[in-house]
């Protein structure tokens, strides 16, 4: 799910002090069109999280780094810390740190990117659901009865229906990732994914988002039906009037014809 990634230059001030010299920053462009800034701190292989360099201090440092850096796209989600069998992962939207043996880093960064991409897309969809649900109350009367004065809103309602369907579609695509069952036998990547999904309540959030999108979809589908019925009724009325006019003309012509015959006779 990673589109591109590249290592950030080791700019002064970006990487916190006290980390090993080979710590690096990596900026990953995720499939959800968000960026993930990853601080990668390699530990020597075979380090079980217990020997030097002091992993506890490193963990504290990267957690503080993730908590302090102010990013525009940061949300109310707290910083999540996952200790994982000699590795340590810190994550919040847009930002993450991975501490672990060199041989594990690639596994962890890939799993983290996959999770971040999934979470990022869900977060975007949640926002779209919020926007949709915000208009529900305003648009709800149109689901019962569509009046002539609302004709100008037809395009808007159709657009919202398309948006609701699109959100539901994206949520359906996301469902297998959000509700993925635990893998057995586990791998390090699967364990990280499971813990992050669990801690960010991804499955529950996905369900709530589906509920909201479903509500909006049902509302705008009903609106669409009322609009369609309104359109049909309008066309029927025009047709009826046309028939009436034609009948009147026909009658008038008949009367004229009869009168003209009477005069001739």
């Amino acid at each position: 799910m990673i589109v591109t990634d590249h290592d950030e230059p080791r700019a002064a001030g970006r990487i916190p002090e006290g980390l090993p010299a080979d710590a690096s920053l990596r900026r990953v462009l995720l499939a959800c069109n968000e960026e993930l800034l990853m601080l990668i701190v390699p530990l020597p292989d075979g380090n079980d999280g217990e020997s030097a360099p002091n992993p506890v201090r490193i963990t504290e440092t990267v957690t503080a780094w993730a908590a302090e850096v102010d990013r525009q796209d940061s949300t109310s989600l707290p910083v999540i810390t996952v200790p994982l069998y000699g590795c340590h992962v810190v994550w919040k939207p847009g930002q993450a740190a991975v501490v672990g043996p060199v041989s594990r880093l690639e596994l962890l960064t890939t799993a983290l990117s996959n999770f971040a991409s999934c979470e990022g897309e869900l977060r975007q969809l949640e926002q779209r659901c919020v926007d949709l649900v915000a208009t529900v109350e305003e648009d709800a009367p149109h689901a019962f009865e569509f009046e002539g004065r609302a004709v100008s809103r037809r395009g808007t309602l159709a657009g919202r229906f398309r948006e609701a369907v699109a959100v539901r579609g994206r949520l359906a695509v996301l469902a297998p990732a959000a509700h993925a069952p635990p893998v057995h036998p586990p791998t390090l990547a699967s364990q990280l994914g499971e813990r992050l999904r669990d801690r960010t309540r991804l499955a529950e959030r996905h369900e709530f988002a589906v509920d909201r999108a479903e509500l909006a979809e049902r509302l705008y589908e009903a609106c669409g039906q009322r609009i369609s019925e309104f359109g049909i009724a309008q066309r029927q009325m025009a047709l009826e009037w046309a028939i009436v006019v034609l009948l009147v003309i026909q009658t008038a012509l008949l009367v004229v014809d009869l009168l003209s015959r009477g005069v001739t006779t």
Binding site: L84, Y85, H184, Q191
Partner: protein
């Protein structure tokens, strides 16, 4: 774990259970452990008005192997017996889970992946590959595939019932382990399951071994505990019973009495007493069962055969330690780890689920041969020995011990040996056809779990109520026997 349904399960009005004189049938349950309490619970649930029910418990407390105690130095609980409960609900209905919910008890899921072998943590396939190379990873994966093929989640759920598949009824577990061609992968599996088996791989059945391996897969089963102590489950059940509970009343003998009743002799304090009951349900662990004397020859023969068939002891040893400060977080936030010490030991971090813990609590669950051998050590020697087994992430806990307790559970469960055939569910619970009012309940009749004993209790309770409602000799098994005898 699930059983065939009880002979008849319905709500029976107490009036229909009463005899012509209007007297309610007298039911005695011998044993106040999970088997006895669950049986009493089901009996009361199946009748609109409580039966005349008496529970005899030889000790001063109810709950048996489900026991939570407190340390003296701090008001902190630790599990003396069952440290975890099994949740089969990912596969099908789990009566124990439903009972816990029905009683309004909170639960918390627990888990752990790390297996420490030679001081090195193996928590996933990547770690196993690091330790044993590609062959270890491949061999373990193949074993996993074979295990799943041999026992599906549905087979796992049905184990213990009359419908259990071949894997459960099959041979010994050791040959299945021997198929793992890599020593390191084999050791990993050994350590992972040893403490749950409570016996050695060569002394249990393939089905039981596979069960204890597959229980690590969340698709088969999940683990949970009750915050504040698992004994709350027993207390909650006991607190809702209307039965006459007699503590410190050890039943010494069972025989036949007048008018088809059963005659109980028991000791209450210094007094030796006797009473007659219409139905007697023996809900005792195997070692206690062997101490009961049966004065009726036919009953004694039947019980001797019953004991001979089911007596395959497996052993546990629990060591619980209170620390002066919380335990460092385990790698992976786990609630327990497996250690290769003592043939394979589970080390629970019992304080892990409490974010406000002021002290740490560690609990070792030692099983099998090691549990028997170590049971002869003094408590101090045992505590020193288990502290030596602490894995690197918890090594610092050694110097923080405030208090320690040892509990020996030798002969506590069944090893379910290979090549041993299970009896049909009805026969397991009624050892003597000639004594229609005599039943047996126990975890050893199923899979040595709390879920198993609940199944056992439910089966017997349904049977007892149905018999009293319809009269002896009317149940399917009795009819079958009568037909066989006629033939």
């Amino acid at each position: 774990m699930q059983l065939s349904p009880p002979p008849t399960v319905f709500l029976v009005m107490s009036a229909s259970l009463a005899d012509s004189s209007g007297k309610l049938p007298r039911v005695a349950i011998i044993g106040g452990g999970p088997g006895g309490l669950f049986t009493a619970w089901h009996l009361e649930q199946l009748t609109a008005v409580p039966l005349s029910l008496t529970i005899f418990e030889a000790t001063a407390r109810l709950g048996g192997k489900v026991c939570t105690a407190s340390f003296a130095s701090a008001d902190i609980q630790y599990e003396v017996g069952a440290a975890e409960l099994y949740d089969y609900s990912p596969v099908d209905v789990d009566p124990l889970r439903e009972l816990v919910q029905q009683l309004g008890l909170p639960t918390v899921a627990i888990g752990g992946s790390a297996v420490f072998v030679a001081g090195r943590s193996i928590a996933n396939l990547d770690d196993l590959g690091d330790v044993g190379g590609a062959s270890a990873r491949r061999e373990f994966t193949n074993f996993d595939i074979r295990s799943r093929s041999a026992m599906t989640p549905a087979d796992f759920y049905e184990s213990g019932s009359d419908h259990a598949g071949d894997a459960v009824a099959g041979g010994r577990f050791e040959p299945a382990l021997d198929e793992i061609g890599c020593g390191k992968a084999r050791r990993y599996v050994d350590v992972m399951i040893h403490s749950d088996l409570a016996t050695e791989a060569g002394e249990t059945s393939c089905g039981y071994g596979l069960q204890n391996y597959l229980m690590n897969d969340p698709a088969y089963m999940q683990l949970y505990r009750i915050p504040g102590g698992n004994e709350q489950l027993m207390q909650a059940v006991a607190g809702r019973l209307a039965a006459d509970v007699r503590l410190n009343a050890a039943v010494t003998a069972v025989g036949t009495g007048p008018n088809g009743t059963l005659h109980l002799q028991f000791r209450s304090g210094e007094r030796h007493l006797a009473e007659d009951f219409d139905t007697v349900i023996l809900a005792l662990p195997m070692d206690a069962l062997k101490r009961v004397r049966f004065t009726d020859t036919a009953l004694a023969d039947a019980m001797r055969q019953h004991v001979e068939h089911h007596d395959h002891p497996a052993h546990y040893l629990r060591v619980s330690v209170l620390l002066d400060r919380p335990v460092p977080v385990l790698p992976g936030d786990d609630a327990y780890v497996m250690l290769d010490a003592f043939g394979g030991t589970c080390l629970y971090v019992e304080s892990a689920c409490d974010p406000c813990a002021t002290n740490g609590v560690l609990g070792w669950l030692i099983g099998g041969t090691a549990a028997v051998e170590m049971a002869f050590l003094t408590d101090d020697a045992l505590v020193a020995t288990v502290l030596d087994s602490l894995p690197p992430p918890l090594a610092t806990c050694r110097d923080r011990v405030m208090e320690a307790h040892v509990h020996r559970w030798t002969n506590a469960v069944s090893a379910l040996p290979g090549g041993w055939s299970r009896l049909p569910v009805d026969r397991r619970h009624r050892p003597s056809h000639a004594h229609s009012g005599f039943f047996v309940v126990g975890d050893y009749l199923y899979d040595s779990t709390l879920n198993g004993v609940l199944d056992s209790a439910e089966h017997v309770a349904g049977w007892v109520v149905a018999e009293h409602a319809s009269g002896p000799g009317t149940m399917p098994m009795d009819r079958d026997r009568a037909t066989m005898e006629a033939l």
